[in-house]
Amino acid sequence: MRELAAIAVFALAVAAVPAFVTSGYALNVVIMTLYAALLGQAWNILGGFGGQFSFGHAVFFGTGAYAMAVLQVKFGWNAWAALPAALALGGAMGALIGALSFRYGLRGSYFALVTLAFAEVFRILANTFDFTGAGVGLMVPLAATAARMQFASPAGYLYLILGFVVAGFVVSWWLKHSRYGAWLQAVRDNEESAAALGVDVFGVKLRAIVISGVLMAAGGAFYVQYLHYIDPHIAYGLGASVEALLAPIVGGMGTVWGPLLGAALLHALGETTRNLMGDAPGINLAAYGVVLVLMVSFMPRGVMGLFQARGAARGSTHA
């Protein structure tokens, strides 16, 4: 319960930010950090708690984003009606990919590559059909009114993304404190043992990828509302997939606070390199790549690992 209280305090603190900060730039930094945390939370459910590393989480992101854009632009739906549909489609995509991969026992690197291939397939499809605006992408018309999930001030977007992130927090907290979460982490640590203890390994993994897909689709939906634009590369390219896995790996996989912590640190790093090197293209991402290599090599438990008392016990025997 203490953690739930901490989550509530965090939510209230962030909600209060617009009362004190008016700079659009600063608010944008907060919004983009929360957005990165949301993608990280989504990946963390499947990768961190479930041990199934996806390299293609863009497939859920892109599905949420395109659902949101297509339903509004081509079908004239209201954004608030499109959102549940976008989330449901993200979950359905998770069910499809999960059912195929887990039924046929794909694990480890193979699972990672299959998710990546699915994302590529959808990228090419989105690039081909007029329905999705093909290579040009889709533009969501501006209409800065909350009735259409668009906001005149950044504060509105901040509350929107904060809502998603809090949902991500609650799901993560639930995984730490529920039977389902215990089963999911058991499957991550040893599938055979889990099965021997009565855990339906396939069902548990399937649920995880569906939940993860829904949350990732929320990220895609937010992107479309915030930036009013989506194209195949943004939606289904490797970028979104990498962004999703980076934050939990930096912050700490399988932890409640890891994705947010990782997102914040990565943003700080991004700002620092920008200040040092100027806005040269590539440098920012190159720094992220270096961080990824270093974290996996030297701090596989992420920054959260530093805070956990268990770290010492673990390090001593894990030669």
């Binding site: 039977r179 982490q185 640590d189 099965a195 021997a196 009565g198 025997t317």
Partner: protein, 254 residues
């Protein structure tokens, strides 16, 4: 409780288990012995759903469970341990055992409480908050036992839970198994089928023993009858078994 008939499993050209049948009556402790590579673990895997038998049937509590997936068999009340221990290394002892406890307890608090009771029952009371990867071999064996027990089984399949333990540890664990079988703290007794190389333990615990060699059940009966016939054992279990028996008996006095 458990009735297996005609179980057969081949890996490529190798027949690991051939036409094996056995019966475990309710409330009993039954032993399964045999030399290395005899097919004991393979037989367990077929009983518990980890391997589909090429032929034969497994009937558990009056129900044909042949070919059911492992988690369903476990839900029906058959739990197994692994010879090569497979803890959830990054989790504590309490969390490990709670995974088993969750089978019959939805609530997290209930499952953790039950995990604690079961862990104490097998002698892990002092290591509840240790990470499983930091346990000794003996500790990990107890953990295997505790996790399986926490699922609330009617039948426990124990695959060499005593292997790798020193004589002192063995003498500690034997009464634990006996207590599990007898039932304690108001819990009903659990039927046990155990694979064991430590003959003294088998002699001590089991009321009936099956002998598996080269994939076939070659003898069964009361432990005394099986072990008293040294010539038979030498013939069926191969050179050196008698010697091993003698050593084991010398080492363990209960």
């Amino acid at each position: 409780m458990l009735e297996a008939s005609g179980l057969t499993k081949t890996f490529g050209g190798l027949t690991a288990v051939e036409n094996a049948s056995l019966r475990v009556p309710p409330g009993a402790i039954v032993g399964l012995i045999g030399p290395n590579g005899a097919g004991k673990t393979t037989l367990f895997a077929m009983l518990s759903g980890f391997l589909k038998p090429d032929a034969g049937r497994v009937v558990f509590r009056g129900r044909d469970v042949t070919g059911l997936p492992p988690h369903e068999i476990c839900r029906l009340g058959m739990a197994r341990t692994f010879q090569i221990v497979q803890p959830f290394g990054a989790q504590t002892v309490r969390e490990n055992v709670a995974v088993g406890a969750h089978l019959r307890h939805r609530g997290r608090a209930e499952a953790l409480a039950r995990a604690e009771r079961v862990a104490r029952q097998v002698g892990l009371g002092d290591e509840l908050d240790k990470l499983a990867m930091n346990l000794t071999i003996a500790g990990r064996k107890r953990l295997e036992l505790a996790r399986a027990l926490a699922t609330g089984p009617a039948l426990l399949l124990l695959d060499e839970v005593l292997a790798g333990l020193n004589p002192q540890e063995i003498t500690e664990v034997i009464p634990v198994i006996r207590a599990i079988a007898a039932g304690q703290d108001g819990a009903a007794g659990v039927t046990v089928l155990m694979i064991e190389h430590v003959m003294q333990a088998v002699m001590n615990l089991a009321e009936r023993v099956y002998v598996l060699a080269n994939g076939r059940i070659i003898a069964d009966g009361a432990p005394a009858d099986i072990t008293s016939n040294r010539a038979v054992i030498e013939a069926y279990l191969g050179q050196g078994t008698a010697e091993r028996l003698r050593r084991a008996q010398g080492a363990v006095r209960i």
